[in-house]
Each structure stands twice: as structure tokens, then as C-alpha cells.
């Protein structure tokens, strides 16, 4: 059989794997201490020593980018984890049982869902203060509704299917039906939702850090690096370019991966 | 001769080995004749009908042979020429009345569509013809149905709407692709009677595709039996049903539960 090449899956896979590798390496090794200021290397151009150059304090951009990717990834993963776990819990119970509880919860859900997640996060941050964990909490809460909604609609679709009735006749209890019979059937939808959610989290986190209310200095963050680089846009555009490209890389990788996977599932 | 299909062959090329789904299909139809094609799913009966209707055009597919409808080869002619036939000289109804109508458009708009595309009748004339067609399709209260949406109607009524829309331009040939499969038995019988009436009164030929042998028996004068892309047997209704020659036809007929004393199918 002639095999159709799945470019999306391949490109996405390569981008994601290299990104994950880079993050993994950054945990154990970075070329320079990302926080060490070197007054001799202020705004140094890209060279053999500093492959992406240095910032206005003489910190190595490449090292900071590596650490920043790690931080962004950490926040995004935490956010998505929180959204998924609570989303599955809320979505499965409301979807399976329906009724007045479902009605009320979904109203609330819809209202939260309608808000731009970054705005919700802003409210939380203005109440809780900034920082890595606050951001995870804030974005995580903002992300729960979208996951709950997806899981719920899948459960509503599945609970009417004959195999669920058949499982009930086979003596399976409600919890067993929900988590052993139905939940595995939502995996395709859930998986692509996780990838999309991950990307939204990356964009939201970097946006908040760009505004100065995300990951707090001195910890490196891609968004903050870009907002600092704006001042030097005329003389050193590459200072903004590299962190920007890293965000692009991360988001593109996951987006293509998701695209490729759904392509494979469809064909 | 109204329709002449010669050596129709349809093959797909989406895999490395081309897969032929219809082999050497031949059929002639005279005006006013009702011909049935029976077969199980995957036998190629719908595929052949869609090719005749000019509705098969995929780039990974080849069609060979000839299909002359009033002298025009519907396999090869341009979309321009085809459009003049479709909905005008040739009406088509499909299996799923639930999804075959545009959910966002009013029934009247959809029934009139053929007139709007093929004639330059005015608005009031079109409406008149549409109401007449709806009434002929035995829909109760055509005025009301005219301004309803598909979701307001039951499956049987939607199929009547489809028939009204196909009949409005007075076609010479009606291709009916499993038109009754998703309907209840009593509605099925009504739809079949309706098609019979149209054929008799307007001299319209009907190509009736179905997997239900008893329906084909009630409606058609001639029948083709298809299996895995081949026409394995064809001929008079009586001959084929009473004295089937091909083993597959025999098997098909044997598969139908018999009711002693009530005759066969």
C-alpha cells in the first residue's frame, strides 16, 4: 500500500523532541550561570562564546533561554495537569449524571469559559500576587472549564451508546462504567485538548511574564526577556528574536503534533 | 431508448493496487420503465447509480465505458452539460432523508431549486409549481410545509419532499438510491406506491436501487442483481424471482424468511 506521509506528525515530533531534550539538558547543564552578570559582555553580539549573545547585564542569552523554556514548560505542564484532572472529575460526573447539578455547574462553567484565560489569571494574580506557583494556580483554574466541557460532552455522547447499556447489564457499577468503560473512549479528544491547552498555557504564561506579573526575576522567563529586549530593539533585535523563536518552536511543535495525531486517527 | 449504459467500469486508485468496484455494467432503459438494482452493501449498486447520475467525480477514481442519457455521455461530458440534465431531465433521491436536505433552508426554497436553476419562471409561478409538486407527493397541507424547515418534518415526510423536489421539473428519469431504507414499513409501502403513480401518470422511468427484494418485487418490471461489483443476473422480475439461475440470486432469495401459504417474496 502506498503510504501517505504525515508531515505534520513528523515535523511536530522532531520539534517537540528537540525542545524536550533542550529542557532536559538545561536541568543538568547550561553553558553559563543564567543569573551571572558579566559587565564585560554587556549586549555582546552573538559569538562563539555566547551563541545568542548577552543581554544588557551581560547575562548569557542562550543559558537564559534554556532555563526560560524549562520554566515555561513547567508552568504550562502544571496548568494543563490541573485543568485535566479537575476537568475530568467535573466533566465526567456532570456528563454522566446530568440533572440539576449539571445544569448549575455548566452555567458557572460557561461563564468562566467565556472569559479570556489571561484575564482571569490577571484577577487571581492581583489577588494572590505574582510568581510561578500562583500562575499555575490561576491559569489552572482558568483552564478547568474548557476541559470539563470537553469531557462532559464526550460523556453525554457515550452514555447513550449501546455498549454502556451493555456494560450496565453486565453488572458494572456507575464508577466502573464511567472510568473503565467510558473514559478510555475520550482519550483521542482529550489528548488533542491537552495539546491545545498546553499551547494556550504557554502563550498565557509568556504573555503574563511579558507584562511582568508571571515568573518573577531573577528566574529566567521568555516573556520577560522579550519585554526587556524591547528597549534594545533598534540596536539588538536578536535579543527579542531568540526568546520569541523559542516560544514559537514550543507552540508549533505541540500544535503540529496534535494536528498530525488527529490526521492519523482520521485516516 | 432513454438510457444506455455500456461496459461501465469504476475503479479506485487510492491504494497502490487499483480496486475495481464496478465491472462491466450494462443497462438499457426505455421511457416509463421501472428497473430495480438489488444487492448487498458493497455490491456496487449505489456506485453505478451515482455514476449514471453524473455525481461521481473523484480525482482518485477512473470511469470507463459509456453512459448515454438522451445522447449525452454522463461519464465524460462537461459539468456544464451535466447541469442541464441534473434536476431537469433527471431527478435523484437518496437514502437518508434526514441529512439529504439543507437544514438551514426552507422546504419551499429547496423544492423550487431546480426551477430556479433551469427555468426563468417568476417567483409566484415557482411557488405555484412547488405547491403543486408537494401536493402531488401527497404531503398534507402543502402551503404550510412550503414555509417549514426540514427539522419540522418526519423522515417519511422529508422523503416526500425530496421526491417533490426531484419531480418538480418533470424529469424523464428518476434515480432512487435506497429511498425507503431508513423508513418504517408502512411508509415504505406508501413511497413505493407514490413512485409507481408518478411513473404511470407521467411516463417517467425509475431506476430503483435497494437491498430489499420484496420492495423491488412490488415496484419493478425488470431487475439486475449485483454482487461484488458484477451484475450476476438480470431479466424480467418474474423470471428472476421464480427461476433464479445464478447461485447468488438463489442464496439471496433463500435468505428471506418464508411464510408458508403466502407465496414467496
Amino acid at each position: 500500500m502506498k503510504k501517505k506521509y504525515n508531515y505534520n506528525l513528523m515535523t511536530g515530533g522532531i520539534l517537540t523532541v528537540t525542545m524536550l531534550l533542550l529542557i532536559l539538558i538545561s536541568v543538568f547543564y547550561v553553558p553559563y550561570d543564567p543569573d551571572k552578570m558579566d559587565s564585560t559582555a554587556k549586549l555582546a553580539k552573538a559569538s562563539f562564546h555566547h551563541i545568542m549573545g548577552c543581554d544588557q547585564f551581560g547575562r548569557d542569552i542562550f543559558s537564559r533561554v534554556m532555563k526560560g523554556c524549562g520554566n515555561t514548560f513547567f508552568v504550562a505542564a502544571g496548568t494543563v495537569w490541573m485543568g485535566t484532572v479537575f476537568g475530568i472529575l467535573i466533566g465526567s460526573f456532570t456528563g454522566y449524571y446530568g440533572g440539576i447539578l449539571d445544569e448549575v455547574l455548566m452555567r458557572i462553567n460557561d461563564t468562566i469559559f467565556a472569559f479570556p484565560s489571561i484575564l482571569l489569571a490577571l484577577v487571581f494574580v492581583s489577588l494572590l500576587g505574582g510568581g510561578k506557583y500562583q500562575i499555575i494556580l490561576a491559569l489552572g483554574i482558568a483552564f478547568i472549564p474548557s476541559f470539563a466541557r470537553i469531557v462532559r460532552s464526550e460523556f453525554i455522547r457515550c452514555r447513550e451508546l449501546d455498549y454502556v447499556k451493555s456494560a450496565r447489564l453486565s453488572g458494572a457499577g456507575s464508577l466502573r462504567i464511567m472510568f473503565v468503560h467510558i473514559l478510555p473512549n475520550t482519550r483521542n479528544v482529550l489528548f488533542s485538548a491537552i495539546l491545545i491547552g498546553f499551547n494556550n498555557a504557554v502563550l498565557a504564561e509568556s504573555g503574563m511574564s511579558f507584562l511582568g506579573i508571571g515568573v518573577q526575576p531573577p528566574e529566567a522567563s521568555l516573556g520577560r526577556m522579550m519585554s526587556e529586549a524591547q528597549t534594545y530593539l533598534l540596536t539588538r533585535p536578536s535579543m527579542a528574536l531568540f526568546p520569541g523563536l523559542m516560544i514559537l518552536w514550543m507552540v508549533l511543535g505541540f500544535a503540529l503534533l496534535g494536528e498530525g495525531i488527529s490526521e492519523r486517527q482520521a485516516g | 431508448m432513454l438510457l444506455e449504459v455500456k461496459n461501465l467500469q469504476i475503479a479506485f486508485h487510492d491504494h497502490s493496487l487499483p480496486e475495481t468496484v464496478v465491472h462491466d455494467f450494462n443497462l438499457t432503459m426505455e421511457a416509463g420503465e421501472i428497473v430495480g438494482i438489488v444487492g448487498e452493501s458493497g455490491s456496487g449498486k449505489s456506485m453505478s447509480a451515482m455514476a449514471i447520475a453524473g455525481l461521481l467525480s473523484r480525482h482518485d477514481m477512473t470511469k470507463e465505458g459509456k453512459c448515454l442519457f438522451q445522447g449525452v455521455d454522463t461519464l465524460r461530458c462537461s459539468r456544464q452539460e451535466l447541469r442541464k440534465l441534473q434536476g431537469n431531465e433527471m431527478g435523484i433521491i437518496f437514502q437518508e432523508p434526514m441529512t439529504s436536505l439543507n437544514p438551514l433552508k426552507k422546504i419551499g426554497w429547496q423544492v423550487e431549486e431546480s426551477l430556479r436553476l433551469h427555468t426563468d419562471l417568476g417567483k409566484t409561478e415557482r411557488k405555484e409549481r412547488a405547491l403543486q409538486a408537494l401536493a402531488e407527493a401527497e404531503l398534507p397541507n402543502p402551503e404550510r410545509v412550503y414555509s417549514l424547515y426540514p427539522h419540522n418534518l418526519s423522515g417519511g415526510m422529508r422523503q416526500r419532499v425530496m421526491i417533490a423536489a426531484a419531480m418538480i421539473a418533470r424529469p424523464k428519469l428518476l434515480i432512487a438510491d435506497e429511498p425507503t431504507t431508513s423508513l418504517d414499513v408502512t411508509i415504505q409501502a406508501q413511497i413505493v406506491k407514490l413512485l409507481q403513480k408518478f411513473s404511470r401518470e407521467k411516463g417517467m422511468a425509475v431506476l430503483f436501487i435497494s437491498h430489499d427484494l420484496s420492495l423491488v418485487r412490488q415496484l419493478c418490471g425488470r431487475v439486475l442483481v449485483m454482487q461484488k461489483g458484477y451484475v450476476v443476473e438480470q431479466g424480467d422480475m418474474e423470471t428472476v424471482f421464480e427461476h433464479p439461475v445464478h447461485p447468488y440470486t438463489q442464496k439471496l432469495l433463500a435468505a428471506i424468511p418464508k411464510i408458508p401459504g403466502q407465496g414467496g417474496v
Binding site: 467565556a114 504573555g207 511579558f210 519585554s227 529586549a229 520569541g244 516560544i247 514559537l248 | 439529504s100 436553476l117
Partner: protein
């Protein structure tokens, strides 16, 4: 009609509930407005007196109703940091942000319809593929990055505008719109890419449906099928997306205003958050909430207009 009334009523209730929640959230947080107003040197008596004046000793529901009535009448309270009316502070900024948002929305809708239809129609062609790759890239660009790229490329390199500067509406109308064009584009581009992609796949999906075959069988042209039959159906999910994008654009504008140095709502919101100027933050959040809820109701109403199946 009944549907519309129900939707509008639901909208009213939702707005009430949401504004109460926001009100509640900003009253749980530590900090005493009276203290914030008078400073730490104030004596306890002075504080108590001011609290009484400001009505801070009344029960929560009473305070909420009072705040709500004042809010509806246009009095959104007084800023802690600037000691001036919040209404006045925000009032000047709303038109700026709103203009930018609507420009971005217009760009998004126009471009996505054109691109979506074109790519769906020429599905698999060279231009379709190029646009799809471009779309994929654009979707991955965060708005501040696209903003920075636009500032750098169009501003610093091509000198089409001066990054960081802003032209007031009262001084130069043309300049006002011209200078908002670039930030609007920065907001619109990623959303536009998503909308175009959504419309493309929605159209392609729609063209596979049974009623499309019916339309062809009546002798429609390809364009006839596309515009008279498929497009309206395919637009349904896209309308939802547009609605969400319109709500999202306010959030996007907060960031993009920062990139382009535009003194809009976003900038006030950020400074107020960092100064813990709660009356301002609260007012802006409630306004945005109302905006979002109204848009959602509008989307529902448009749906009802387009789709007869909804009841």
C-alpha cells in the same frame, strides 16, 4: 422572540452574578480602603469615621447594591492612587482600546472569510498548502512577539511608523487610526489564522455532507453549492469562534498596548494591579465581564437567526 427574551434575561442574571462575584473577591482581599485613603498616620477615630462615611460598616449585600446602583449610574468609585474618579480615568481610555479591538475584529473577519473560502475551494493546491503552513506558523506566534516583529520590521526597518508613539484622537484623526492599525494587526493575525483554518476545515467537512450531493443533483454549479448551500452551514462554528475571539481581543490588547505604548485600558489595568488600586481593577474587570457576556448573548441570538433548529 421567546428565545431572545430568555437569552437577554439570562444575560442580565449572569451579569449580576458575575459582578457580585467580582465584588466579593475584591472585598475578601486584605487591605482597608479607609486606611488606604488616609494613610498610616490616621488615628483610629478618623478611620472609624471615614468607614462610616464610606458605608464600609454596612452588611455586604447592602454595600453591593449601593455599589451596583452607583456603577449603573456611572459612578465607579475613586481611585486610591490618583484620588480621582474611576469613571473619568477609564472613560478616556475605553474608546482607544475599543477602536483597536474593533479594527482587529474587522481585519480578522474579513481576512479569515476570504482565506478560508479560497483554501477550502482549492483544497490540496499549492497556494492552499502555502497558506496552511503560514497559518500554522501564525497561530504559534504570541501576540507580543508579532507586535515586536511588526514594530521592528514595519516601524524600525521600513519607517512606516514610530514604535512607542501614539497619536491622540483629538489632534489627528487619520493619524489615530493609522497608528492603531499596527497593534490591531498584531492582535488580529494569530486569531485570523485560527479562524481561516477553522472555516476551511468546517467548509471541507460541510462539502462532504449528503445535502451537498442533493444540491449537485439539482444542477447547481460548484460556486452555487458553495455559496448558497455550504457556506452558511460552515459558518456556524466560525461564528462562535469569532465571538470568543472578540472577547479575547480585549485581553490581547492589554499585552499589545504594552508593546506599542498605547495608553489604553490595558495599561491602566496593569498599573492599577501593580499599585493595588482595587477600585480601578474592579471596575475594569466588571466592564470586561459585561462585554464578554453581552458578546456571548449576541452570538446566541445570531445563531438563532441563522439556524431554525434552535429553540
Amino acid at each position: 422572540m421567546k428565545y431572545a427574551v430568555r437569552k437577554v434575561l439570562t444575560m442580565g442574571v449572569t451579569i449580576l452574578v458575575v459582578s457580585f462575584l467580582v465584588f466579593l473577591a475584591f472585598h475578601i482581599i486584605p487591605g482597608d480602603p479607609a486606611l488606604a485613603k488616609l494613610g498610616t498616620q490616621a488615628t483610629p477615630e478618623q478611620l472609624e469615621q471615614l468607614r462610616e462615611e464610606m458605608g464600609l460598616n454596612d452588611p455586604l449585600p447592602v454595600r453591593f447594591v449601593r455599589w451596583l446602583v452607583a456603577f449603573v449610574q456611572g459612578d465607579m468609585g475613586t481611585s486610591y492612587s490618583y484620588q480621582m474618579s474611576v469613571t473619568q480615568m477609564i472613560g478616556e481610555k475605553i474608546p482607544i482600546t475599543l477602536t483597536m479591538g474593533m479594527m482587529a475584529f474587522g481585519m480578522m473577519v474579513g481576512l479569515s472569510v476570504v482565506l478560508g473560502i479560497y483554501t477550502a475551494k482549492h483544497n490540496g493546491g499549492v497556494i492552499d498548502r502555502v497558506i496552511c503552513v503560514l497559518n500554522q506558523l501564525l497561530m504559534a506566534v504570541p501576540p507580543f512577539f508579532s507586535g515586536i516583529l511588526i514594530s521592528w520590521g514595519l516601524g524600525l526597518m521600513l519607517h512606516l511608523f514610530v514604535p512607542g508613539s501614539y497619536v491622540s484622537y483629538t489632534k489627528d484623526r487619520g493619524g489615530f487610526f493609522y497608528y492603531l492599525l499596527f497593534p490591531a494587526a498584531a492582535i488580529a493575525l494569530p486569531k485570523c489564522a485560527m479562524a481561516a483554518k477553522l472555516l476551511r476545515s468546517s467548509l471541507i467537512e460541510e462539502l462532504k455532507k449528503d445535502y451537498i450531493r442533493t444540491a449537485f443533483s439539482r444542477g447547481n454549479t460548484v460556486n452555487g453549492v458553495l455559496y448558497a448551500h455550504a457556506l452558511k452551514n460552515a459558518l456556524m462554528p466560525v461564528i462562535t469562534f469569532w465571538g470568543m475571539a472578540l472577547a479575547d481581543m480585549l485581553a490581547g490588547s492589554i499585552i499589545v498596548e504594552q508593546v506599542f505604548g498605547i495608553p489604553g485600558m490595558g495599561r491602566i489595568l496593569l498599573t492599577s494591579i501593580s499599585h493595588r488600586d482595587y477600585p480601578v481593577v474592579q471596575a475594569i474587570i466588571v466592564l470586561i465581564a459585561v462585554w464578554v457576556i453581552v458578546i456571548n448573548t449576541l452570538v446566541d441570538l445570531i445563531y438563532k437567526l441563522v439556524d431554525p433548529r434552535i429553540s
